[in-house]
Amino acid sequence: MTLGSYLVRRIGVALPTLVGVTLAIFFMVRLIPGDPARVILGLQASDEEVVRIRRELGLDRPIYVQYGRFIGRLVRGDLGISAVTRAPVIEEVATRLGPTAQLAVSSIVVATAVGLGAGIVSATRQYTAIDYLVMTVALCGVSIPVFWLGIMLMLVFSVYLHWLPAGGYGGPAHFVLPTIALAAFSIAIIARMTRSSLLETFNQDYVRTAHAKGARPRAVVLRHALKNALIPVITVIGLQFGALLGGAILTETTFAWPGMGRLLVNAITSRDYPVVQGIVLTFAVIFTVVNLIVDLLYAYVDPRIHYG
């Protein structure tokens, strides 16, 4: 089997998953109480207006008819129109995907660089002051809620020092604080995973051999140990990237970032079914792709793994 046929098989597996996602989200979003027509029109609207909107949104039809229409449009690449703004869902998602993706990428780059570095420093100096310091900071990183960290960063760097803007989307300066706030958790997770995974490989025979044959300690750590320790780290980085895309809701709210997380929350609170469906589907596709990339990276890092 070649890499190509592996990819085809993986995509073949992904499709039923995505159909399952459409089914789950379609029915779940309709199970939460709350009438979209009433929520969209507000409390003062008259009852006949509500009935009219319900008809306009197709909510007066049986639920299987609604699902059929949704799938029918989907295979033609149409996610429908937003029940609230009446703009195409594709357009709503596309305008928000950019800011979210940019923030996720900048955060994962920072998180990987800092997390790997901190993990290596910590592992090579196990049980020293530096190790304890790094792990304490990492513990804080996983424990501090992002909205609190975000506000604190803004207080220090925007209100007192006037160095950086307090939220909002724009030039490079706007990226600094949300990237730090969003990356903090991932840095901590990656650092801890790198440390423990590295420590495990340090006890392996081939590391001892490398030391014995006189390789420089730096080469032993980076070339022999680290490469073998990377598999679980890559898994974690892949998962974190998915989480950064989907889990940026709080960061986006705190920093007034016009991204998908906030769009999703707004869509849920206004019961905008088409937009909720569109976003969840987009997230599902992204997760599938990221998982695939992670699997392919395994083979690169560990030549013993073959997909061909």
Binding site: D35, G42, S46, E49, R96, S158, A166, G167, Y169, G259
Partner: protein, 523 residues
């Protein structure tokens, strides 16, 4: 390698320094070209007819205008795009004379054809209009010449003229609406006559308007205004303190006390027509008895909660219809008095000497400090033996709970707020207390209150044009409702914004809007 954390620190500091001139501190500085306002929500539509949210209306008010002005002086109706109007003696014909020489932003003239187009559009069932009921009395719209418009009504409607001053009835350029087609709700280019012109809507991020050089009236002082969407109240305040924005709507309520003393900030606050109350389900168990409902009103110390939980962002309710609205009167000065002894007496008389248990729901973040004050109320009720356990849920679920028919409803006691875009007791009372329209699932008055006398008074008041007669009818209705105590009357909310000290002339209106079009900058 030992130094790498420090090196990283230095890099962060260097990067930060590189951008450090981007946002100079607020304080003594020249007037900005662009006034920036942090708002809590993004627009859902920029079509004024589709608006459901005051804040969105507030933003589109920068580029749309109405026939009459109901907002500059609450309670008074002043000319805007119409200079004069006449109402026939039977209240069935309204004749408007339009301001001459006014042009829409797309260059087309604002004339009788545009007014006819606008009014027919907001009655058109194919156009989404949550407030259509305000204009339901209009039967036909005719033009005579370029500047005269005549409305014929199917029945007298004392609230119609004021309704024509709400954002919903903003006059639109027919050419611009047709050109935009389906995109009108997201890109309403050139459709208004207002002092600012719509420039750009970056969804989820900002809405920008620029000054209209050909505006017919007084020109505003800022060249551009940008509304920034900042959903988190804490961040809005942070942006104000950092000088990124010049005005922030609704900073966190607990911070308002400190902000009032902050020398660099002005808090602009004013009472509104939003009444906040506890709905008692009048058809449920103990609340069927008027003595129990009165006891509930005696048991809650509104003043104490206002001072300690709402930071004085409210005024104790003195009537079911706030006195600032047409027809509103203070039924009882100071509101229902706090008197737990009297409350216990009434409960004992009604057969609830040992109190009772009741489900109590409150939303979170819908009204000022809602879930927090509900807990304070629950503690006070415990003192008279009423055990109320507070729970919360998200807003759509909350509305779904309200809209359940009486035989299946979970409502026993809930927090609710009610406000109306037209300052008239009709809006405050009809939808909550007229048993023919208020009861869920079709109405929004989950108290299930029923008093035939009140029904008759409210119906008559909305079909009469004589202001004095209407006032008398509303006076009687308010007194009856007040003593029937279908709610625990709490308070009317204030609305507030915070601005940098340099910004002057910002006002807050009774319908939860800010007035900042003519704000000025004092260096």
């Amino acid at each position: 390698m030992t130094h790498s954390p420090f090196r990283l620190g230095i890099i962060v500091v260097l990067i930060a320094t590189a951008f450090s001139w981007q946002s100079p501190p607020a304080g003594a500085q020249a007037a900005p070209r662009q006034l920036r306002i942090a708002v809590g929500i993004d627009a859902d539509t920029l079509d004024p007819v589709g608006g459901t949210t005051t804040t969105v209306n507030n933003m589109v008010d920068y580029f749309y205008e109405t026939l009459v002005d109901v907002e500059t002086t609450p309670g008074e109706i002043k000319p805007k795009l119409a200079t004069r109007w006449q109402i026939s003696r039977d209240g069935l014909t309204y004749t408007f004379t339009l301001r001459s020489g006014v042009r829409f932003h797309d260059g087309t003239p604002m004339d009788s054809a545009a007014v006819k187009f606008t009014l027919e559009r907001l009655l058109d069932p194919r156009v989404r209009n949550p407030n259509r009921h305000l204009f339901a009395a209009i039967k036909s719209v005719e033009t005579s010449g370029d500047l005269n418009v005549r409305l014929t009504l199917s029945q007298p409607s004392p609230i119609l003229l004021a309704s024509l001053g709400t954002t919903t009835a903003a006059i639109l350029s027919p050419a611009a609406v047709q050109r935009a087609g389906d995109r009108f709700s997201v890109a309403p280019t050139g459709a208004g006559t207002g002092p600012y012109i719509f420039k750009e809507w970056r969804r989820g991020d900002s809405i920008t308007v620029e000054r209209n050089p050909n505006y017919w009236g007084q020109k505003p002082s800022f060249e551009e205004v940008q509304f920034r969407v900042v959903p988190d109240a804490g961040t809005r305040l942070t942006q104000l303190l950092a000088g990124d924005v010049h005005m922030a709507m609704l900073p966190p309520a607990p911070d308002v006390k400190g902000l009032r003393r902050n020398p660099r900030v002005t808090v602009v606050e004013a009472p509104t027509d939003r009444t906040v109350f506890l709905v008692l389900n009048n058809q449920w168990g103990p609340f069927k008895d008027v003595r129990v409902r009165q006891a509930m009103n005696y048991a809650v110390n509104k003043k104490a909660i206002l001072a300690s939980v709402l930071f004085d962002l409210g005024t104790v309710s003195v009537s079911p219809c706030p006195p600032m609205m047409f027809g509103g009167i203070p039924v009882q000065e100071g509101g229902w008095p706090y008197n737990p002894i009297k409350a216990k007496q009434l409960l004992a008389e009604a057969g609830y000497k040992d109190g009772f248990e009741v489900n109590f729901f409150a939303p979170t973040g819908r009204y000022i400090q809602d879930f927090q004050f509900a807990q304070a109320i629950s503690a006070q009720l415990r003192n008279v033996g009423v055990r109320a356990n507070v729970s919360t849920m998200d807003w759509p679920s909350y509305v779904a709970m309200i809209l359940t028919p009486p035989d299946r409803t979970r409502v026993q006691m809930i927090v609710l707020g009610w406000a109306w875009p037209v300052l008239d007791c009709d809006g405050a009372l009809y939808g909550q207390f007229h048993s023919g329209v208020a009861h869920p699932p079709t109405g929004l008055g989950p108290a299930y209150y029923k008093n035939e006398k009140v029904d008759a008074l409210l119906t008559e008041a909305r079909q009469t044009n004589d202001p004095n007669k209407r006032k008398a009818l509303y006076k009687e209705a308010q007194e009856l409702i007040w003593n029937d105590a279908p709610w625990v009357f709490l308070w009317t909310q204030k609305w507030y914004v915070a601005t940098v000290k340099n910004l002057e002339g910002v006002k807050v209106t009774p319908i939860e809007k800010w007035h900042a079009i003519y704000a000025t900058w004092k260096p």
